[in-house]
Symmetry: C2
Subunit: 256 residues, 2 copies
Amino acid sequence: MLSNSVKKHIKQLHQKKFRKQFEEFFVEGVKGVEEALNSEFDVVALVVEGSRRDDEPFASLIKKAEEEEVEVFFAGAKDLKDIKSTDTFPGVMAIIAKVEESLEFFDFNAPILALDGVADPGNLGTIIRTADWFGITNIILGESCVEPYNEKVVRSTMGSIFHVNIFESKNLEKTLLELKEKEGYLLSGLVLGGEELKEDSFKNKKQIFILGSESHGIKKELAEKLDLLYTIPGKGKAESLNVAIAGGIILAKLNN
Amino acid sequence: MLSNSVKKHIKQLHQKKFRKQFEEFFVEGVKGVEEALNSEFDVVALVVEGSRRDDEPFASLIKKAEEEEVEVFFAGAKDLKDIKSTDTFPGVMAIIAKVEESLEFFDFNAPILALDGVADPGNLGTIIRTADWFGITNIILGESCVEPYNEKVVRSTMGSIFHVNIFESKNLEKTLLELKEKEGYLLSGLVLGGEELKEDSFKNKKQIFILGSESHGIKKELAEKLDLLYTIPGKGKAESLNVAIAGGIILAKLNN
């Protein structure tokens, strides 16, 4: 059984304000927990469903956690109702300490992905996962994006949140213009009526590619400052592409 | 207020067996209903939230429906609880008669997208929406895919379900081999260890591109019969791509 204080703490981590206050978040499921334990993130504690502690892969995760001196708690069926964020608890969850976010950790020889107004957690998580697949680790989130430590975002990243550098900007426009000036990046973005995206659109690696929201695109003030405007040409009758799909198509080219 | 029989009918359409029995499904939201009214699909009835009947865009949708002799029902707040499929009812829903599915409606001069084991409704809907964006209208679903008239699939297509030809095969392997023999298509698919996807991979338009499930890929018996094997090369640490993202990257090239 979990103590009430542990239970309360985990429940609080379902809320953004407490994630901010404690500088922690949680990840559920074997894959995510495994990636967390293998990452540079500090795993604060593991919570394992007590009845499955001797089953694989849980037993191995517990062993690994103990080797790394991570505290392990065991939860009863009643506890799970309070702490889980999905219908079926996947057997294990980890509490993770956030790492410091800083542009200093960025690789300024590589492209940067910047997101403006990506509010859907599943889309953000999928974009982070896709960026990781294509080896894009520099990710800037604008002030109108969903918080990346939201449980649904974390889940959709499938562990990729532990592989990339995320910087949450409080003023995306300012951040991007500074990077342009100091590091020599070009600002490019997806807009209506831009140039058709080509295989060699990103030959110049010093690009910050900005993806806007599905319904409103990149905000006007920022769109006006872009150096390169791209479009993914459509041929059918659909009105728009899902933002994560547009991101996938871009990311597949961005690091070629 | 809705009559009990109408309410019962809509509630039944939340279930696959009744969608099959009545050969009907429903779509919620202004965009989807609008696309349905503008499509070749037969709209059986419109259900509008009574308190919003004089507001735009609902008033226009009602007018359009009446012009096309579509029956319009008005729902009270109490009715909505019974019929809606999302937390917040978007003001309007339409009951749609399924159209006949047949390979005869396919354009055999164009590529075909075939899906094997895409079980997540959101992913299937997003793939259909993306196919529509890129002008791919030939879509074959294997027997292990989620049903395309599922409300979550329909919602994720954002109206694109009304723009494409869907054929639900009861034996995907048989269907594809027949198309290969009779229509001269090559079978290509996304697999581990295939050839790197290139800009001109789909220069030959007579390809059926097969996308498998995220966790298991294309089923073995079918994968063994492919003529062309492709891979989307990754550079990072992510273990896999989301299936809709992989589909988006393929579809962007398939109809170029």
